[in-house]
């Protein structure tokens, strides 16, 4: 019963407008305090040259405030490193929650991957 709380896959995309490549972190499953090693570990493992990071929440089933705190920790690190983080795939409910908490000031939320890629 080795339950996988969070699954993360990482994908490299060419930029639609010719700039830096885009590194997509696709989350699946739950994002909770138990996701800390997976999420922060995946972030820390990214190539130093990655400048544009895209978070794909479309497969996330459950997200709580401890999970949001992990996203904030990632945004803090990205901010220090001069990286840009964009997000897509959030349900209307979690778009509202992200807005309430103010995270949307540090990662803009887009309806889908194409729109998010174009926003860099």
């Amino acid at each position: 019963m080795q339950e996988q709380v969070t699954q993360i896959s990482i994908e490299e995309l060419a930029s639609p407008n010719g700039g830096d490549t885009i590194t997509v972190l696709r989350f699946a499953g739950d994002i909770t305090s138990a996701s800390q090693p997976a999420i922060l570990g995946a972030y820390e493992g990214l190539s130093e040259t990655a400048r544009r990071i895209l978070l794909d929440f479309s497969k996330v089933e459950y997200l709580n405030s401890s999970g949001i705190a992990l996203i904030i920790q990632m945004l803090i690190a990205a901010n220090k490193q001069g990286r840009t983080i964009r997000s897509f795939g959030l349900s209307p409910h979690f778009q509202k929650v992200f807005t309430m908490v103010g995270i949307t000031r540090y990662t803009s939320i887009h309806p889908d991957q194409a729109a998010a890629c174009n926003s860099f």
Partner: protein, 170 residues
């Protein structure tokens, strides 16, 4: 480049300070619902949530959902006579590789003969109206779970007990 990462619940959970997961074994979740049709869905969904947490596959979760719903309906109707001041209890007990669900009511339970050998529906008889259309609940429970029994607990009432097991091959 696609690379998969994951965190197992056995890792130290540094963010919350909660000790590493030792599995669900030994944990119990209890639910009480009024004896009113509709609330069996709350019990059914709670059982499904627990089975999901334990890592049961979708097919087994669906089996359990139907079994729990049918047991609750029987407890409401036959056990508690739809008296909505009487509650139906649902006790979900997690073992190392199995989930046991007891559905309790305040009645006497099915008769011993029915409890020991639930009626197997005969579709031809039903189609020829030699048997009532309904009367499939206990059969479905028994067919869908790994273990099912009906126990009368004279002082307090009766319960249906169901077990589903995690299979290493599933």
């Amino acid at each position: 480049m696609v690379l998969d990462q994951g965190t197992s619940r056995n890792q130290q959970d540094a963010a919350s300070g909660q000790p590493a997961d030792k599995g669900h074994a030994g944990h119990t979740i209890e639910l009480r619902v009024p004896s009113r049709l509709g609330y069996e869905k709350v019990a059914m969904n709670a059982a499904a949530s627990v089975a999901h947490l334990m890592g049961f596959c979708e097919e087994r979760v669906e089996d359990l959902k139907t079994a729990v719903a049918e047991a609750c309906i029987n407890a409401m109707e036959h056990g508690n006579k739809f008296d909505d001041s009487l509650t139906v209890g649902v006790i979900l007990s997690m073992g190392p590789s199995s989930l046991e669900v007891k559905v309790t009511d305040t009645g006497e339970g099915p008769s011993r003969s029915v409890a020991e050998a639930p009626h197997v529906p005969d579709i031809d008889k039903k189609m020829h109206e030699q048997e009532q259309a309904r009367g499939m609940g206990m059969f479905l429970i028994q067919a869908l779970v790994d273990e099912a029994e009906w126990v009368s607990t004279p002082a307090s009432g009766s319960y249906a007990r169901m077990v589903i097991r995690l299979r290493p091959d599933k």
